[in-house]
Each structure stands twice: as structure tokens, then as C-alpha cells.
Amino acid sequence: MSAERVAFYIISALILGGAVAVLFSRIVIRAVVYLLVSLFGVAALYILLRADFLAAVQVLVYIGGITVLMVFGVMLTGAGRLDAPPSGSWKAFYAGVSSLALLALLGIVVGRTTWPTGGILPEEGSTSILGELFLRQHVMAFEVASVLLLVVLVGVALFIRLGRRKVAV
């Protein structure tokens, strides 16, 4: 087995193990830590796929942004204590059946299709190529993404302010 393959299996085990741990975790903040493990694994997978820029973006946005935001959410809502998953309900059954059906479907698609092979990315980094792509070919999408972020920024601030005044109950 090559070193790449060993790394791939270890990383995949981390990703999937973290995700399964989230599913069964009883404490929300620990679920966020398991998510962190999973996200780190995904970043490592990007490095394996020679997308080093994307790996850095993944760490910066997910670990520096989204998980910190989630911990913040947990702290503000006091949801960090015990929160057991529902047991023995029909919900678990329906969720399991529909997820397994989806997994079977995806398995069939992945197994039956002949996937393209042979394309190899150049060894040197992808950053400058990505920069060119963002600012030439995909500049429209790039600008739309920035508008989206601006809308979210203003929207969330407004949302919190309006939501505080009206109490639903």
C-alpha cells in the first residue's frame, strides 16, 4: 500500500468517525468538537487532492468562523448540557430508512457509472490559477457571492434587532 492510500484511509476514518460521533453525542458542545475533527479531515483530504488553497480556506472559514460561531450559539442559548437523542421513536426509524435508501441510491450511481480518469493536476500550487479563474472567467459569480455576504451581514443584524422587539409567545 502506498503512503497516499494509508493517509487516505486514516483521513476518511477521521471524517466519518467524527460525523458518526456527532450523530450520537449527548452534549452539544462535544458535537461541535467532533464536527471540528471531521472538518479537519476534509481539509486533509483537500491536501491529498492537491487543493492546498482550498484546504487553507476550509480551516480558516470552518474552524475560525463556523465552529466558533456554533460555540457562541451554544453559549448564548445554554444548550450545552445533556441533550440525549430521542430513543425508540418512529423518528429514528423514518430517518434511518430514508438515509439508507439515499445511501443505496448513491452507491448504485457510484458503482454503475464509469468515471473519467487520467486527468492529473500539476504539482505546483493552485492558488494563482484559482485567482485567475475568479477574476476573469467567474468574476460575475465572485461578485454575486460578495453581494450575498453583504446581504447576510446586513440581514442578520436587522433580523436580530427586529426579532428582539416582537416576542412571539
Binding site: V22, L54, L69, I160
Partner: protein, 100 residues
């Protein structure tokens, strides 16, 4: 050399677990985590295809997905905090005021 199929299998499994979390757990923050996992599974696919096809379009798409995920997380956390302020709980099963 790890083949494309293996990456696709990992992504499919991750997506399924994410879906299971969204459907099974009722804590709003855990539901959000499930959605993030599903988005990550999609991203693994994009980057794996980008490698297999020898281009960078997949990576560009993945960056946009990450941007959308960040925006979505900010809105979702705001909703969770408001849910907590208005209902005193963040159990998504209990927020059913639009439920006729």
C-alpha cells in the same frame, strides 16, 4: 493513487450521515452541524472531480460552496438565538407556530 470512486464513496457516506443527523436530532445546532457535513460531502465530490478531470473548475465551485455555507451558518445561528429568546428552547420539534 487513490481512485475517484473511493473519494465518491467517502463523500456519499458523509452525506448520508449528515442527512441522518438532520432527520434524527432535534437540537437546532445539531441540525446545523448536519447541514454543514452534507455541504462538505458535496465539496469533497467537487474537488475529487476537479482532480480527476485535471481542471480547476471544481475547486472554484467548492470555494463558492464554502462562502454559501458561511453565510448560511451566520443566518442559522441568528435564528437559533432568536428561537431561544422567543421560545426558551432550541428544539426544532417545539417550534411549530406556523403549524395551523
Amino acid at each position: 493513487m487513490v481512485s475517484l470512486t473511493e473519494y465518491l464513496v467517502v463523500a456519499a457516506l458523509l452525506f448520508t450521515i449528515g442527512l441522518l443527523i438532520v432527520l434524527y436530532r432535534s437540537n437546532a445546532i445539531l441540525v446545523l452541524i448536519g447541514i454543514e457535513l452534507m455541504l462538505n460531502a458535496a465539496n469533497i465530490n467537487f474537488v475529487a472531480f476537479s482532480q480527476a478531470l485535471g481542471g480547476h473548475a471544481g475547486q472554484v465551485f467548492a470555494v463558492f460552496v464554502i462562502v454559501a455555507a458561511a453565510a448560511e451558518a451566520a443566518v442559522a445561528i441568528a435564528i437559533v438565538v432568536l428561537l431561544h429568546q422567543n421560545l426558551g428552547t432550541i428544539d426544532v420539534e417545539k417550534a411549530r407556530y406556523l403549524n395551523g
